[in-house]
């Protein structure tokens, strides 16, 4: 990678932050319990990874995320395609969907726990609710914004309704679908983590809560960084796919 002014400044900013964070507790300006230190976080990270039980938490959280978000895609995309094609259905379902979209989806956590208990099902449900709405809304928008002239052109070449849908509307709406998936992803991750923080028996969010209430800031930060990294990697992967599709469409 070329050393540009941009990377230089960004790296320096991060480095300065780390140095201040490491040195401030040493000079006694701040209490290390409150802020921890980079060196302590690294040490805690090594302890956590080498100790048993870590993989179990990861697999619980990943499973909840995969099922919840998988369901969100499996239901959100087809339903969005249908809503995009049938205006009456859309006008009927749009207000409740928008109302849920404007509401913080994590506010549904307590009622979902009442319905589904404190096991994995409630996290799957929260991840699903968080993920499905952006996917649904963007898929619907993608279908509606398909260029009319493309549809007309396909029709004039005797394409049937099904052909138009599969060969014109579906590919044209795909970038919006992927955008919805990217937006839903972060909300689903947050749903799993906060769901686990709220009520759970295992998972990364469970550990965040545990170490948080024990005020083990270094352990807490390891888990927070892990979750952030997962979110960042997954989002970047979808974004890359998105850019590929946009350029392929041009």
């Amino acid at each position: 990678m070329k050393l540009t002014y941009r990377t230089l400044v960004s790296t320096l900013a991060v480095a300065a932050f780390l140095v201040v964070w490491e040195l401030a507790p040493r000079t006694g300006v701040v209490d290390v319990t409150f802020t921890s230190q980079p060196s302590r976080v690294i040490a805690a990270g090594l302890t956590i990874v080498t100790a048993g039980g870590f993989l179990n938490d990861v697999s619980v959280s990943l499973t909840e995320f995969a099922i919840g978000f998988g369901l969100a895609i499996a239901i959100g995309v087809p339903l969005g395609l249908v809503l995009g094609r049938f205006p009456v259905l859309r006008h009927l379902l749009d207000p409740p969907i928008m109302a849920i979209y404007a509401t913080p989806h994590l506010a549904l956590l307590p009622i979902i726990v009442v319905w589904l208990g404190i096991g994995m099902q409630s996290k799957i449900a929260v991840a699903f609710v968080g993920g499905v709405i952006p996917i649904l809304v963007n898929t619907t928008a993608g279908v509606r914004e398909v260029e009319r002239s493309w549809v007309v052109a396909a029709r004039s070449f005797c394409a049937g309704k099904w052909d138009v849908f599969v060969k014109v509307i579906l590919p044209a709406a795909l970038p919006s679908v992927i955008l919805g998936i990217r937006l839903g992803l972060g909300r689903a991750v947050l749903g799993v983590v906060v769901g686990e923080m709220y009520q759970s028996q295992a998972g990364l969010g469970n550990k965040v809560m545990r170490y948080g209430s024990e005020f083990r800031t270094d352990y807490l930060l390891v888990y927070v960084l892990l979750i952030s990294m997962f979110g960042l990697v997954a989002t970047t992967a979808v974004r890359t796919l998105e850019e590929k599709l946009w350029t392929a469409g041009k």
Binding site: R6, V9, A107
Partner: protein, 254 residues
């Protein structure tokens, strides 16, 4: 088609009516257990009871105050940071990693640390609301300012506009849609911060009452608070959309 212009509105109202009727009917007919889902009539009764007893007003006031302070702070800081970053390249590049982190990190997980710093309750909730909404506002402001058409700026410059004139009379009006879009997205995130902050670390407010009644398995009271949060979310988002239309009215379509 002219007579059908109101169709979406009618269908929208019909939609809520159908949901409420089906919900009430399902409970009355004994298809579902009201212990889990409550029913609209009971929720309405609870809402009017808590409104008269002052409980609803108190929770609403607590949550709204936290929201206004947290969101207000992030509007001021976010627009300032965005403006500085758009004017000075170094600021933009230095802020970049921080914004990236704040975007991808599950910030709510920091709440135990906030409790340690600020104590349980209002300040922690405000901090969460601020931290969740300010990156959104900063990025949108930065994008908005950077994408002001260079032609507009050159035109203003050649008529002798100074730095301040440029900001107030050209850059701000031209970037209004993007900035307000950021403010609108920020509302959702600030509201999320308030509700989740109260869910975990508070002793009052709408989020707290959801969690409190959830713990007692009092679904009717839980759903009543949830309904208030939904209405609040819709109202806030709608009012910003209205603002967006108003401030952008000078623009003529190209």
């Amino acid at each position: 088609m002219d007579g059908w212009k109101m169709k979406p509105v009618f269908l929208g109202i019909a939609s809520f009516a159908i949901i409420l009727l089906a919900w009430e009917a399902a409970v009355r007919l004994g298809w579902v257990n009201p212990f889990f889902v409550s029913q609209p009539s009971a929720v309405a009764a609870t809402l009017s009871r808590t409104a008269r007893s002052g409980e609803l007003g108190h929770n609403l006031a607590v949550s709204f105050r936290e929201f206004v302070i947290g969101y207000g702070l992030s509007v001021v800081v976010g627009i300032l940071a965005g403006a500085l970053a758009s004017r000075f390249r170094t600021v933009e590049y230095a802020l970049d990693p921080l914004l990236w982190f704040l975007y991808s990190a599950p910030l709510i997980a920091f709440y135990p640390i906030f409790v340690l710093w600020f104590g349980l309750g209002v300040p922690t909730v405000i901090a969460l609301a601020f931290l969740l909404s300010f990156p959104q506002i900063t990025t949108s402001t930065l994008n908005g300012f950077q994408n002001v058409s260079p032609g507009l700026i050159r035109a203003a410059r050649s008529f002798g506009a100074g730095e301040m004139d440029l900001l107030w009379k050209v850059v701000l009006p031209a970037s209004v849609p993007t900035v307000i879009a950021g403010l609108r997205l920020g509302i959702g995130r600030a509201l999320m911060g308030v509700v989740v902050g109260e869910l975990f670390g508070s002793t009052a407010g709408l989020g707290y009452s959801i969690s409190y009644y959830g713990g007692l398995l009092k679904t009717t009271d839980l759903i009543a608070s949830l309904v208030v949060i939904i209405i609040l979310g819709v109202l806030c988002t709608q009012s910003l959309s209205a603002l967006e239309a108003r401030f952008d009215s000078w623009r003529v379509d190209d």
